[in-house]
Amino acid sequence: MKLEDKLFLDQYKVDSEPHLKIKIPDVCLECEHKQCTWVCPAGVYKWDEDSKKIIVGWENCMEMGACVVACNEYDNIEMHYPKGGYGISYKFG
């Protein structure tokens, strides 16, 4: 089953502002393995070869925080929680 189809099953209330941010995009150029792209179950982080940037699909975020830990060498991901009641809401969990 494709990730997009799975994420479509989940219930999100999308906040108007992103709760995830790459602090300094240029720092990602130094990062060899792009660890943030390997640890996220929702595939929030994607390396875009054209723009040489990490694209952050924060709308799909499950708020688990692994990205921040994966980036601890550069400490370049800023995460705070979405507004109360926004973000993902599990029905089963």
Partner: protein
């Protein structure tokens, strides 16, 4: 909202609600802030719930709690590509009458709201849809929180940080230990619907009994971690959990690992024709005793995942420890209120209660698990593959005389294993999981 409460709790998961329920029953004024739309909205686990503490919090909980199946069977499967060796244990004594073996499959978005409701009925105020961003300090002591809402500065004698594995409050208080890749696991899970009869027939279950299955080796591509299937009434919880460094080293994303697990011949038969209802992810604090931080400071205690209280051995126990920590924190605060001392010293009884109970005794007992797992990748890939390869040779029927097969097996075993070294490794395994 009243200006000051006895206790503010941040997070209405099992630890927060256990604390709220205990405090409210003792007559203390309690407010619980929960950032989800409802308690449990942000939570997921494997999941099997162990219930000795829950039964103290809510006696005869099984008569009303939204739990799924009582676990009578445990199964550990070792997978290689295309084959499986398994160990299964079932006990009819676990099937007689509630609370059975104090272990139940459950779904957190259904269980957590129920426990929060019990706290509310006891007098705690539960405020959902509210993020707490920071602590309020006065004279070096925590005396409240800043909630992200109008008039969000609320004061209390004590704040309980029950805000989960990421605990931004533990971080802001300076208590949280640094996170490294090997002390946290990433879990991805699907809830898969199947008719009740299909689940019972397929897993050989009667009535509401259930099975907890864990799979190692090729189940998770030889990474440090495991795959799992837990039976609910009309769904299966199917997932994988591996350390962060395992995903980074292997360069595989959690969803691909989960799909790979689901496609294994031993797994796909168990989930076939199932319909996925939900996909979820969470981080598990698996660092063990060395990663448990200081959990008390003046006016603040950490409970549950925020305190890194998970037993990551074969028991995979978190929610029971979370509820225990909430209960002990609450009991300590009730005592502290009598003395009017909410300083670190006045709250020290919380740590003592954890140390003297199964909570920190168990976490201490298994303190080597995290470092063992990260230093012994062979146990997750090389050894399972070899064991299954030898089993295949042993069971393969041909015209070859059995004596020849045995000789070839011995030869293969000797060529792959350095006996002395493996003995040392097995002894370390024994020490890590089974020594007293």
């Amino acid at each position: 909202m009243s200006d000051k409460f006895d206790v503010i709790i941040v997070g209405a998961g099992p630890s927060g609600s256990a604390a709220a329920l205990t405090l409210a029953k003792a007559g203390l004024s309690v407010v619980v802030f929960e950032r989800g739309e409802y308690p449990g909205a942000k939570n997921m686990f494997g999941g099997v719930l162990y219930t000795p503490i829950l039964n103290r919090l809510v006696p005869n909980f099984w008569e009303e709690a939204p739990i799924e199946r009582h676990i009578t069977k445990r199964r550990f499967g070792l997978l290689s590509e295309g084959s499986e060796a398994a160990f299964e244990y079932r006990c009819e004594d676990f099937n007689t009458s509630p609370p059975y073996n104090q272990s139940f499959s459950a779904l957190r978005a259904q269980f957590d709201p129920w426990l929060a409701k019990k706290a509310e009925e006891a007098g705690a105020m539960i405020i959902p849809e509210t993020v707490v961003d920071d602590l309020i300090w006065k004279d070096g002591k925590v005396c409240g929180v800043k909630a992200r809402r109008e008039g969000g500065e609320v004061e209390a004698d004590v704040v309980i940080a029950a805000d989960g594995v990421n605990s931004f409050l533990a971080k802001k208080s300076g208590l949280r230990k640094a996170f490294t890749w090997n002390v946290l696991a990433v879990a991805a899970k699907e809830v898969i619907a199947l008719p009740r009869e299909t689940i019972e027939d397929r897993f050989s279950l009667e009535g509401d009994e259930g099975v907890a299955m864990e799979f190692f080796g090729d189940a998770v591509a030889g990474m440090v971690g495991a795959g799992f299937i837990y039976t609910n009434k009309e769904t299966l919880s199917v997932g994988v959990a591996c350390t962060i460094n395992a995903f980074i080293d292997k360069k595989i994303v959690p969803n691909d690992l989960l799909e790979r697990f689901k496609a294994h011949p031993s797994i796909r038969r168990l989930i076939r024709k199932g319909e996925t209802l939900e996909y979820s992810g969470h981080m598990i604090p698996e660092g063990g005793y060395n990663q448990v931080p200081e959990i008390i400071t003046d006016g603040l205690v950490l409970v549950g995942d925020a305190a890194h209280l998970v037993n990551a051995s074969f028991y995979h126990e978190g929610t029971n420890l979370a509820m225990a920590s909430g209960l002990y924190a609450a009991e300590t605060i009730i005592e502290a209120k009598e003395k009017g001392d909410f300083s670190q010293k006045g709250l020290q009884g919380y740590r003592t209660k954890l140390e003297e109970s199964f909570v920190l005794k168990d976490i201490k007992k298994y303190r080597l698990v995290e470092s063992w797992a990260n230093k012994n990748p062979k146990f997750f890939k090389e050894y399972p593959d070899l064991a299954l390869d030898l089993l295949k040779d042993y069971f393969t029927i041909s015209e070859k005389p059995k004596e020849t097969i045995q000789k070839e097996l011995t030869k293969k075993f000797r060529s792959k294993i350095k006996l002395l070294r493996t003995m040392v490794e097995l002894n370390q395994f024994r020490k890590t999981f089974f020594s007293s």
